[in-house]
Amino acid sequence: MQEKTGAEKYTSVQIPTKLVEQIEKRIQGTEFPTVTSYVTFVLSEVVSETEPEQKEALSKEDDERIKDRLRSLGYLD
């Protein structure tokens, strides 16, 4: 998982080869250029949802409502 270099420093995480193959298939034709970008996105979403401080401050409903509005304004895909 070191195919991407960008703004943040990256490190290696071991995940099953079979899962990587599944992700490779899943991201075909999507906006995710690499397995790393997809995994980073998914993990960021999971972590942000489970962080106690954030959960307390912004509910899932708030988050969805805000994202919907940002999409309608052209700030989010």
Binding site: Q54, A57, D62, L70, G74, Y75
Partner: protein, 192 residues
């Protein structure tokens, strides 16, 4: 003028809170900013959006794909929601715009051309987002924040421009053009 080359400078705040105006002010004052014409000026922002990635910078940040280091030493615009996705390493200076929330929501409705039937809920959600983001950025030692109130800027820009110069730690900023950017004719969703 030059900004610190090891620091990311960001104009932020809720959407429709004056972030584009602030970018334009900085640009007029000779402060380095980075933007593309990927999102053209329109009736909602007649002087331009001053954005990167066609306004979809939040999407790139969420995916960890935005090359923020490339923009050190220049101001870029990242609206409030995107600040939670900034890389945790690095040094940041943020000018965070605030505006009467009813005006923000009025402007959002006008821009998206919809009437929000759940406006009170939307208001509470954005209020919580605003508080959460401000709390986050204020709690981090690597982030330095200046809060500028849009409505105060419109009322009397000179003291606000002076605050910006102090925040940037320079007297090289050309303040007169910055002040002249503040266009009261564009203050269309007035509530206060």
């Amino acid at each position: 003028m030059m900004l610190q080359g090891d620091c990311n400078y960001i104009v932020s705040g809720l959407e429709r809170s004056g972030t584009s105006m602030m970018m334009q002010m900085l640009h007029s004052g000779g402060v380095p900013i980075a933007y593309t014409e990927s999102r053209k000026a329109d009736v909602n922002n007649p002087k331009g959006y001053f954005e990167l990635e066609g306004g979809k910078i939040i999407t790139s940040l969420m995916k960890g794909m935005f090359p923020i280091e490339k923009y050190q030493g220049k101001f870029i615009k990242i609206t409030a929601y995107g600040l939670s996705y900034l890389p945790s390493t690095g040094k940041y200076k943020i000018i965070y715009m605030e505006r009467n929330l009813e005006e923000v929501l009025d402007s959002m409705e006008k821009m998206s051309n919809v009437v929000d039937e759940n406006r009170e809920q939307t208001k509470q959600s954005f209020q919580r987002l605003n508080e959460k983001v401000k709390k986050e950025i204020l709690s981090k030692e690597n982030i330095n924040v200046l809060f500028i109130h849009y409505n105060e800027m419109l009322k009397d820009p000179i003291p606000q421009v002076q605050r910006i110069c102090e925040f940037l730690g320079t007297c090289e900023v050309d303040t007169a053009p910055m002040v002249s950017v503040v266009d009261k004719q564009l203050y269309r969703q007035r509530r206060v």
